[in-house]
């Protein structure tokens, strides 16, 4: 569950500009939501708030039932581990191979190689990259990197999955494949939020949408 109450965000480097303001919405547990809007509307900023990479300047925010503003900083990592993120720019670690990139969230949780191997292998198979387990991210195609980022985001079985333009650089077939994987996570009970500036995707896969424009919420539904 994600609840924004009158949320505003100003970046320290943002010269006093509000990147987001007056955001009010509730995403139910287990929902699938499109986050729509043109470039610069604030989609990545909303997702950054949701996965606790930035903290709101104003307002109240609840993520997975926790009031984030009131949490001690030391308690945030525990909450972050329950959130899966597919970054707009993937953010794969270049010095780790595909297998290690997927294993990373589990290693952060302190799992041993023995305990994480089955899950990592399964995720790599799920996104069709098992044969590339030893490949460096730089040697993968854009679509493969995107799927690898998705495998990393879901390997720890998060309760909330946020994906930022997960089809941005992909052709139609690759994009459909990634969306199918996201919808499968949703079917398994994960709360999923997908940001995209594409208008075609939400038409193809109808679901509730948050529509942003210049940092404000235009509509929700």
């Amino acid at each position: 569950m994600v609840r924004f109450t009158n949320i505003g965000l100003r970046y320290p480097e943002g010269r006093g500009q509000w990147a987001l303001s007056g955001l009010d919405f509730l995403l139910e547990t287990g929902s699938f939501t499109w986050l729509l809007g043109p470039s610069g509307a604030g989609k990545s900023s909303v997702l950054g708030l949701m996965h606790l990479a930035v903290r709101p300047t104003a307002g109240r925010m609840e993520v997975l039932g926790q009031d984030v503003a009131r949490m001690r900083r030391g308690a945030l990592p525990g909450l972050r581990r329950r959130i899966g993120v597919v970054f707009q720019d993937y953010r794969l670690l270049p010095h780790l191979n595909a297998y290690e990139n997927v294993a990373l969230p589990l290693r952060i949780q302190g799992l041993t190689e023995q305990r994480l191997r089955a899950d990592v292998t399964e995720m790599l198979r799920w996104v069709g990259l098992l044969e590339r387990a030893d490949a460096a991210p730089a040697s993968l195609s854009g679509g493969e990197q995107q799927r690898l980022a998705l495998a990393r985001a879901v390997v720890a079985r998060p309760a909330l999955l946020v994906a930022d333009e997960p089809t941005g650089n992909l052709d139609g077939a690759q994009a459909r494949r990634v969306i199918a994987l996201l919808r499968e996570m949703h079917r398994l009970g994960t709360t999923v939020v997908v940001a995209t500036h594409s208008e075609a995707l939400p038409e193809e896969y109808p679901a509730p949408a948050l529509r942003l424009e210049a940092g404000r919420l235009l509509s929700h539904g």
């Binding site: 990479a53 990592p77 670690l93 010095h95 780790l96 191979n97 969230p105 952060i108 190689e113």
Partner: protein
């Protein structure tokens, strides 16, 4: 076989998700730490050497007082000196020993009248000043001053010891600064990765701990290398200097073993703590 190798590689890399073995590689830091450990080993040995030299001089100068008395009235004066509190014994130096001692300067002069020299042994060093004063009160008595040379030498020895400690303190400061700089370079090289780990839910202590272990290890290695060079050099130095300074052959106990053995540990601790604090401070800027 190739499969097992790939698996091993993967495991090795898995234990180093920050890629610190690459980001904090090279021999520059260990080499500089080695140089500082070498200096520290020399300072420690210098401090111990100066200390034992001072102790030896002190011991030789303390515990005895020479009093020159006019030959007449020697008996009552001796009684008076022996009775002073803190005096273990007061014995006249035999004439023959005195003549033997003076021969290089005076030659063989059988008829020359010599003053009586009394050698006092002191049992209570704290009473020395009082004993000197009491002895000087005896008419015609001359109390030999503690050699000015010994006092000067003691001052030099203590100065050397103090200087050695100052050098050690400077070395610790420089080592700390060095580790902080190396850590910052490591952070700069891996800031993206650190941020990603942070956003995936890594705790500050996980990330800072990885840096701390890496830098602690590099510093320990460097100090071990420095010691490996220092030990033979220090032994050669002791072997040459001790017979001259202490009039005995050098012994293993002349090197400050505990101090030397603690150098890798101290270096490792400096590396660990400094890296931990440096990375910790950097991470606190993240949300």
């Amino acid at each position: 076989m190739a499969d097992r190798n790939a698996f091993r590689m993967r495991r090795l890399r898995g234990r180093d998700p920050l890629g610190l073995r690459r980001a904090l590689a090279g021999w520059l830091l260990p080499a500089l730490v080695a140089a500082m450990a070498l200096l520290a080993a020399m300072a420690l040995t210098g401090a111990q050497g100066a200390g034992s030299l001072a102790a030896r001089w002190e011991q030789a100068a303390a515990g005895q007082i020479l009093v020159q008395l006019p030959p007449e009235g020697l008996g009552p004066a001796l009684d008076r000196l022996s009775a002073l509190p803190g005096v273990a014994s007061a014995t006249p130096v035999p004439d023959a020993r005195l003549r033997e001692f003076l021969r290089p300067w005076l030659g063989e002069v059988p008829g020359l009248p010599l003053p009586a020299m009394v050698e006092m042994r002191i049992s209570d060093p704290s009473a020395e000043t009082a004993i000197r004063a009491a002895a000087a009160d005896i008419p015609g008595a001359l109390v030999e001053e503690r050699g000015e040379a010994v006092t000067q030498a003691l001052r030099v020895a203590n100065g050397v010891r103090g200087l050695a400690w100052v050098i050690l303190a400077i070395i610790v400061l420089v080592a700390t600064a060095l580790v902080a700089v190396a850590t910052r370079a490591g952070i700069a090289a891996r800031s993206q990765t650190i941020t990603i780990l942070h956003e995936l839910g890594a705790r500050d202590s996980d990330i800072a701990g990885r840096f701390a272990r890496r830098l602690g290890w590099l510093c320990t290695l460097g100090a071990l290398g420095g010691l490996a060079i220092a030990l033979p050099a220090l032994w050669l130095l002791a072997d040459a200097a001790i017979p001259v300074a202490m009039a005995r052959p050098a012994a293993l106990a002349d090197l400050p073993w505990w101090g030397l053995a603690s150098l890798p540990l101290v270096a490792g601790t400096i590396g660990w703590i400094t890296a931990r604090l440096t990375v910790g401070a950097w991470l606190r800027r993240l949300p």
